[in-house]
Symmetry: C2
Subunit: 207 residues, 2 copies
């Protein structure tokens, strides 16, 4: 069956174009304007072909978030070995983490979260996805920072780092906030290093 | 003119009900569903009366964000004197700050920011408002924490605190995140106290 393989490959390529287009459209036009028709057109695919892959808009958008987040996490993990060793590591690791919260994928996800806040049915689909992503982002950040997550202090500071990164993401939605956050990231790296230095006195705080 | 005063008062009360209803509707139904008609109905006002106060939906929503944020900031400032002195102060202050990012006003503002991300005209109205709010939130946080904002380390850590609070706000949109963030706030208070302790060694970092 010599035509089988190319057909499957075309189908997979179409699917991937739809997933990427869904993220582009969400980030650029927002939730409400990102209809099946708009995404299909952006992907250069007929509406029927799009619906063959994804029966509903929610199916498409959920799959797009899932696919793009998995790729993003894989890319981040591949970068762990490329981080500088020694003094600059924490800052470099933090910049990688924050990059994930200021890219078009985050801006697309923000559109979905905000829509889900006012849509019970969408929320039921998004919440389990978010919980899984949250755990995976935590593990990736632990690896990037090279800290011991079984240390309660380190665990909390990784969580704080991710909350801060999420806040940077939100501050970057309406204007380019990169200059402001750059100094804060630098400071945060120094604070993390001081708080987690070997032989540190742990601040008064117990689980 | 004995009827003059009550009429003005009624008009002011109507205006205020519209502003509060706009925030309620945004937080509960989202940006797209928060039309002039929906807000007027929620406020128990005719559509014509609503439009007398606010010619367009954008006028109403911008005024609502402005009014509610100013009231919120005033309330926060009034609480400065009620904070405990000594060891518990930083944590208590942080909880006040985070409360502002997890209340319905934040959820309403999130709907507007997200809509503005995909709407050039709305963004032009929201960005200057956001810049002013950002500066005022920074000053209020400095007062609550009782730190010296002319110290570059303190300044950056206040900024980091607000970014983290914004991240907490976003994490609270789809599910109640209060238990998770409570431990992080406690840890962050201890880290801030250690970093800003008198006689501290400032982490290696210069402006």
């Amino acid at each position: 069956m010599p035509t089988r393989e190319p057909k499957q490959e075309r189908s997979r390529a179409t699917r991937q174009r739809l997933l990427e287009s869904a993220i582009d459209c969400l980030a650029a036009y927002g939730w409400h304007a990102t209809t099946m028709g708009v995404v299909a057109e952006h992907a250069g695919v007929s509406r029927g072909a799009a619906q063959h892959h994804f029966p509903t808009r929610e199916d498409l958008i959920t799959a797009a978030l899932e696919y793009m987040t998995e790729s993003r996490l894989e890319r981040i993990r591949a970068e762990v070995d490329a981080l500088p060793q020694g003094p600059g590591r924490t800052e470099a690791a933090l910049r990688r983490v924050v990059d994930c919260f200021t890219d078009p994928l985050f801006k697309a996800a923000l559109q979905v979260w905000t829509a889900a806040a006012a849509d019970e049915r969408l929320r039921a689909r998004i919440v389990p996805l978010e919980e899984r992503f949250g755990r995976r982002a935590h593990h990736a950040t632990v690896e990037l920072l090279g800290v011991d997550d079984s240390d309660p202090l380190a665990h909390r500071l990784v969580q704080a780092t991710l909350d801060m990164a999420r806040g940077f993401g939100l501050a970057d939605v309406l204007t380019d906030d990169s200059a402001r956050r750059s100094g804060i990231i630098r400071q945060w790296a120094a604070t993390l290093d001081a708080a987690l230095a070997p032989g540190r006195e742990q601040p008064e705080w117990t689980l």
